[in-house]
């Protein structure tokens, strides 16, 4: 008998629709790394990132019936994750203006620490750089450069024209280079 882990996405979705939580657990394990990369790149190593990561899968579960398989499951989940991250940033901005909070509270337990010091240093350097970009530019960088989606796919996920994605990417790359080059030396 086939193990759940060996099943394809569509079979796991069908089982999840029938209420098989183990099947949905396999979907989570399969895509949690991708979601982590998206939400942590967008929100940093914060508790909000973990919450948005969880919310991404909950939203996906609640919309299982609506998933028709027009796009790859990875793209569908990434779209939910990026939209929720952008919403969270907007929400945080309102909180900042109300309570004068300057930044999200760092939560070191959200990310699995890397034993390699150099990797940890690199990670922090990237997080610092990404945080300095405007969210609309950050989302393009996250999808295009961190996740490795094509420009066309990035445009489709963000529902933006390809030209806008290209111009935002070019400006973001310029800013990132200014921030990262001194740190990389």
């Amino acid at each position: 008998m086939k193990e759940l882990r060996d099943l394809g996405d569509n079979e796991l979705i069908e089982l999840s629709k029938k209420g098989d939580s183990r099947a949905f657990g396999v979907i989570i394990s399969r895509y949690e790394e991708q979601v982590a990369r998206t939400v942590i790149s967008m929100l940093g190593n914060t508790q909000e990132a973990e919450d948005v990561g969880q919310e991404t899968f909950i939203r996906f579960y609640n919309s299982l019936d609506k998933f028709r398989g027009d796009s790859a499951l990875a793209t569908y989940i990434t779209r939910i994750a990026i939209n929720l991250s952008l919403n969270e940033i907007k929400k945080n901005k309102k909180t900042v203006s109300l309570f004068e909070r300057t930044d999200s509270i760092p939560h070191p337990d959200v990310i699995e620490p890397d034993n390699d010091f150099e990797n940890n240093e690199k990670r922090e350097m990237i997080e610092t750089a990404l945080k300095q970009l405007h969210p609309s530019f950050r989302s393009v960088v996250v999808l295009r450069l961190v996740q490795g989606y094509s420009t066309k796919e990035t445009a489709r996920i963000l529902q933006l024209p390809v030209g806008t994605v290209l111009s935002r990417l070019s400006r973001a790359q310029k800013s990132l280079k200014e921030i990262l080059t001194p740190l990389m030396k």
Partner: protein, 109 residues
Amino acid sequence: MAAMDENENREDREMEELLSSYRPVFKGGFAGRVLERLDETQGKLITHDFNNMVYSMFRRIATVGAAAIAILLFSIYLSGRGLDRDILIGDSYSDDELVSYLLYQDIEE
């Protein structure tokens, strides 16, 4: 000039490589935490769905009832009897009519 371009391209490549190597992962047990939260949320969702269903059923019944009352009143109004208090409480005979009816009944007997 060519050397500058070359240098810039190298920096771009290094930056892209650095970004694509960024692979943060959630702390262990993430799937379990999601499933746990999902369990809690589903419970709330079921209750919420039930409340919504009762509310929508009540609203439908109330709307149909209100429409029926409106049609009834309108048809009474159209029948030319007007909409006085007796008609509304179901007593469509005036006192005079009632007395003559009772008298007529006595004569017949």
